[in-house]
Symmetry: C2
Subunit: 317 residues, 2 copies
């Protein structure tokens, strides 16, 4: 395979909706992209990977896809795109995917997700990426992208300190932009993580507990009010932890969601499919961090306990 | 009909589970009991009223039952046993049921329920009764009593002041005791109302939102913890409003529920039947009262808004 000069090699761990979408865009832009999948390996080897998208479809053939992490050569960049609930299966082998200068981009939801990876890979440069994207898997090797796709990316530092815009952040952001994606780089990853939670905490949980789409939650003034109250509570938790989120952000998130194509959140999709919910990363970690800083996220905690109950009843968690 | 000397006449407004159960017990004890029903009138006239109960079945024939409040003669005591959501249909005609010395016993859930009745009937003595009973309607004129049955009763005073144990409270308590029921009289009705909410706020709401019985909510440590947190929040709301609930009460409520026959709450039964939920009395009023007193019941408010959303979606409220 010829490799255009300067093009970085990528390994995408997790061929779900997020890994499939971003991996396909990078491959379409000319990067070597290796996918690590679980159930889709044979299908993708035979039939390739298809992304349907209003921003342009991608159809990849001859996809380099692996079922076994230990068989994958080291790449320049590893995109970790499995759910946090699958970390236990992946973490022990992650070291085999990275070389001495590798960059690991944690494309997961929640708080504290980079700490886990940095602890497992003390040599790697660990970035975090928040994907604001509406997409889902419709079948093996088949991702449907509905709306959005922005990535916010920053480098992790122990203790949540701001790393600034590092060379690693610039490199990955540049590759994603060339691949046609909208990218924002942040000096302070932890604040970026909290900003993402302003959306995830209300919508992920309420969509499961109330069996409702984002459009239904926004249409009834009562649930809309609850969404807003939860958002402000997350802003309060962030502030207690030293991460300032500007006052206009809640309004922006509400307006963005109003304008969104009606959407099942990833947690709702997981719940409906009987998969475990990402409760530790999205609820437990921020609630604990805020409590440690003297701020009680009582509203989010109600939702968290309700979700845990439902997760247990599904036989998960 | 012969009337034993000293026996008071009763009108029971609402032939649901609560009205049917307590009315039947009073009738079986020899009181004249007039029932006001909605859909059951013809059935009960023809087939009577049946209460199945582990404390002894009651089968009443020749039941004095009315479909129209204006046709009912004034009784000594009126038991108001309709849901608060049916108050609007009943209140305009309630005056026709009471004489100058009548006692009205509000057998409803929630806070502020006596204020509404006292405002509509300024001449009447208004009592409040909290029924801690597991029973439900299984068909027309047919109530199944599962467990418990205690009544806590006190007299209402404007502004929630303690009325002491009044003659009216003694009279009704005596009749209920003679009818075989366990009765507690309280000097301070408002505190009694808040104590009842310690149970109703967690179990009614969570049973609907999580589609769970009391036994399931108690069996999972996570939902049990949430129940307990909600209970303590209600105790906090009561305290802010000047109503002290002793520290052991939460533990007692948890233990009582542990020992309870697995039970669908009244709100869950209403929800499953597509009936409107008693959200104003059980959630809105106490949350507002606490807020007015400077205490935010944030956890209960999450549950309240979730329930309101579900109530709207059912086409109610």
């Amino acid at each position: 395979m010829t490799r255009p000069p300067g093009h970085r090699t990528y390994t995408v761990v997790g061929l779900g909706a997020v890994g499939g979408y971003y991996g396909a865009r990078l491959a379409a832009a000319g990067h070597v992209v290796r996918f690590v999948a679980r159930s889709d390996v044979d299908h993708v080897r035979r039939h390739g990977l298809v992304v349907e998208s209003p921003h342009g479809d991608v159809k990849l053939t001859n996809v380099e896809v692996y079922g076994d992490l230990s068989a994958v050569p080291a790449s320049d960049v590893v995109l970790l795109a499995v759910k946090t609930t699958d970390n236990d299966a992946v973490l022990p082998h992650l070291g085999e995917l990275v070389g001495p200068d590798s960059i690991v981009v944690v494309m997961q939801n929640g708080l504290g997700v980079e700490e886990t990876i940095a602890a497992a890979l003390p040599e790697a440069q660990v970035l975090g990426a928040m994907c604001f994207v509406c997409c889902h898997k419709v079948g093996p090797g088949h991702v449907r992208h509905l709306d959005y796709g922005q990535v916010t990316i920053g480098e992790h530092r122990a203790g949540g300190e701001a790393a600034g815009i590092t060379d690693a952040v610039r490199a990955v952001a540049s590759d994603l932009r060339v691949a046609g994606l909208s990218v924002q780089t942040v000096e302070d990853l932890a604040t970026g993580r909290w900003r993402k939670l302003v959306w995830n905490i209300p919508y992920n949980g309420l969509s499961v507990v109330l069996d409702a789409g984002t459009d239904q939650l926004m249409a009834d003034p009562v649930s809309r009010k609850l969404v807003e109250e939860l958002m402000w509570e997350v802003v309060g938790g962030a502030a207690a932890c030293g991460h300032h989120i500007d006052d206009g952000f809640v309004e922006t998130m509400l307006r963005t969601t109003d304008e969104m194509t009606p959407y099942k959140t990833s947690m709702k999709l997981d719940f409906d499919a009987g998969r475990p919910l990402e409760l530790d990363a999205i609820y437990r970690a921020p609630i604990r961090a805020a409590r440690h800083a003297g701020f009680e996220m009582r509203r989010a905690e109600v939702l968290y306990r309700q979700l845990r109950f439902l997760d247990h009843r599904s036989g998960c968690g």
